[in-house]
Symmetry: C2
Subunit: 571 residues, 2 copies
Amino acid sequence: MGQNAKDVSSLVVGLDFGTDSVRALVVDAATGEELAGEVAYYPRWAAGMYCDPAENRFRQHPLDYIEGMEAAVRGALAKLPPGTAQRVKGIGVGTTGSTPAPVDAHGRPLALGPEFSENPNAMFILWKDHTAVEEAGELNHAARHWGGTDFTKYVGGVYSSEWFWAKILHVLRHDGAVGAAAFSWVEQCDWIPALLTGTESPLRIKRSRCAAGHKAMWHEDWGGLPPEEFLVHIDPLLRGIRGRLYTDTYTAAEPAGRLTPAWAERLGLPPGIPVAVGAIDAHVGAVGGGITPGVLVKIMGTSTCDIMVVPRENLGGKLIGGICGQVDGSVIPGLIGLEAGQSAYGDVYAWYRDLLSWPLRVLLPESSLVDRETGEELHRQLVDELLRRLSLEAAGIPAGSTGLLALDWLNGRRTPYADQTLKGAIVGLSLGSTAPKIFRALVEATAFGSRAINDHLMKEGLEIKEVIALGGIARKNDFVMQVLADVLDMPIKVAVADQACALGAAMFGAVAAGLYPTVEEAQAKMGRGFSKTYTPDPGNAAAYRRLYQGYLNLGRMLEAARSVQGEGVLL
Amino acid sequence: MGQNAKDVSSLVVGLDFGTDSVRALVVDAATGEELAGEVAYYPRWAAGMYCDPAENRFRQHPLDYIEGMEAAVRGALAKLPPGTAQRVKGIGVGTTGSTPAPVDAHGRPLALGPEFSENPNAMFILWKDHTAVEEAGELNHAARHWGGTDFTKYVGGVYSSEWFWAKILHVLRHDGAVGAAAFSWVEQCDWIPALLTGTESPLRIKRSRCAAGHKAMWHEDWGGLPPEEFLVHIDPLLRGIRGRLYTDTYTAAEPAGRLTPAWAERLGLPPGIPVAVGAIDAHVGAVGGGITPGVLVKIMGTSTCDIMVVPRENLGGKLIGGICGQVDGSVIPGLIGLEAGQSAYGDVYAWYRDLLSWPLRVLLPESSLVDRETGEELHRQLVDELLRRLSLEAAGIPAGSTGLLALDWLNGRRTPYADQTLKGAIVGLSLGSTAPKIFRALVEATAFGSRAINDHLMKEGLEIKEVIALGGIARKNDFVMQVLADVLDMPIKVAVADQACALGAAMFGAVAAGLYPTVEEAQAKMGRGFSKTYTPDPGNAAAYRRLYQGYLNLGRMLEAARSVQGEGVLL
């Protein structure tokens, strides 16, 4: 009762720094119940500042995070009775990643100083920034040919242009001034807790195990980050940086420090409360969504991030090939966190929606398209309506009856065995292939891509007893989710928490504050359960078992055809 | 001078019975100059009578032909000074085909009698009617397994459901009354000249070599139509029909007879002038467009019909595999006429246009979509505008740069080696695959399909020195034609005559009337030349040589994958 009485009165704050906004959630530490939440959009980002989409350059100013966080926390607390904030006992933090920034010797991102305040290279390089494609290519080449250990082996064997070292090297090469001024580099999930806890020296910042392991090739096997020798082999410009980064890393269950009086004042929270070490949003969201061993959590949006946790002894030192990393404690302390994913999911549907709305965009001048009855402009609402109508019509087509088969690799393939050069396909086209039939084939293709991941993980010896889905697609599209359940031939539970990542962050805040001894106990008490379960239809599942073999055959065929033909010839 | 003086004063009438309408062209026999023309639409057909598109049943009432022909000829003559009609010396006829109808012992289509006037089975079964798919399948099976000669060998080895015998058998099976009342069967191109010349007995109708050879398995090798024994082997219902059909066939250069006084009166033409034997429109059009040995004439519309003529001695008895027939005199007397084609050409673009206009159809209620400035309804004009805009945008994309590769088999493959079960495909899709890029890939795919036909014919030893294009696509779409020239790496001349088929019919009328001794001389004098030549761009041609190999590979791969997997699995 004493423990319970204490819990009832305790609150925690979960912070989720997303791509466009930051969300603050004030949560009852005993039940996980959301008492108040607030979202604050990043003003500079919303204005398109510091970005160049044509060049895939996406940067974020640290002031967007600072101002956003302040507005979100204050906004959430303002919805609660006076004095409620005094019950907050801890803060947890999830952020995008890999989203690194250069910092000075005081841990301050360079863009916060006057010299670099408008320089995109001195800001956070957002996860989806692809300016470092060349550097990633060199890094992969070096990893395979330098003569020593392949340091990419725990991140799936292919280092991405979206990750830490590639981005650092790109900035060093293209902006000598920033390179010279950078004492060290931080991930977004490292910096926010450091900021809140007043941890100034980059050498004392408690670095996220999750970001380090999945994005920076940190691993116990080689005593932390890859050795200086390897980094210098990639490019001498990297010399000396490793020594100003870190050796130790921490799970999000540990406190990064305590909230400084100054930040307590700014946020309206009690000073001195623990702030948890940060972690990457998908991993934090998986915890908020209810991940446990045997469960695959799918965060379904434009792409998917698929997370599992496995007891170390179950894996027995085995290296899982073709995934995006296996890191001890990246999700839950004491368990190996696995990351996989599909490069495009909702993006496949968005591509098709944009394709079909080409005539609306090109032929109908926005200014002249009006509804005769209401006088309203139809443009935007039409495009929004399109996917809903396609889903409706496609849902009426029996499983496996379109005569079509598609490959979902429109943005390459992430898992299994990342290959960004692979492409999508639609075969079986006839003059009777209608827009809804093609949409259905694309939805089936994304589901087949999910099945290929599940099958790969199971072939590698992992047990998947259950799938939990989070994210926009999971919450919004019944048709897509039912096809996924039918194709996986496995029930899919949709987490009730709209804000699984913020809830997960709150759970970590609670553990870091000592309200629960383990993440698992926090999950057990604070978990919000599921809003819906999609159960496979046995007939559809049978139809899809056959069609899935076609998907695998088509993929193998096109992959092999491409690789034997050499450059220039598409097939 | 005497010959010339005579020509100057002589006119001929060309009749082109198309799918929707009949066109009459009054032509100067000396120059081919068009003096007047008129198109009359079939009223019953336009009203959708006797057809069921959902069942692919397309029938035409003989009254549509009679009334249309009368209106067209009278309409054309009405545009000329009084007395001009007296200078008309002959009539030529091209029609669709295979478009057979059952006739009574007086050569009258059954639908013209009171008993069957509203019975679709007693009417002309239009070329594109697909009700006889089952019967065609049985016929093909019989041809291969009955133990004797394969009577499909001169029509490419596969008998189509669109052809004569399959359609007859279908009616016999499904309409006993019509079967019992049918004394014989005629093709549309047989019946029109018989009607105009008063040839009543079906046994005396001069049958078209073109229709007989390409659609009814007529060949000199087996003394005409396939033997009774074979026909009865297919189905005993066919017993006795062969004997009430024909043994001899005639080229369109020969007169079928002379215009009866009654029909002269109805049409406003001089009685007693020769009417040429009929032929199928594509073949007649090829003559009007300027076909000679070494030239491939492409009639480009929803599908293509590709026609060549080859001196018998050049072919040396060789059987050309995988085409739609080789028939002595089907195009020009004394030359072997070859027919090939693509099952979908313009239809591929129409399919894509319909796909992209799905949102316009489904989301925008026709009644409420108006232009704010003009108040006009936008619906129809938007859909019409779509292909024009796609062509414009696609034309701006460099050859071979879309990253895409498509297969044009959306309606199966006609040549080489007909296989209606093959399907289309688009591979190489990425999130950057825009509507114009995909359109370009589809246009390239149809051109690759053309190239595959050219290459096949050349591999079979035929020489193609030149391509002449006719039809809607050839006249209307510069972009499509330029891509075709680049892919074929061969100049393409577009015939100046908008109405190549009616002009070709007029040429046959002139020869049948004795104004010219041969079709070749009629072509030389009456040919109208070319409006435009598309010259291949060497850079594009080189890019397409490479991409074409990809097209062939992709086709082979998908064809092979399908055939080894068995039923149910698409690949």
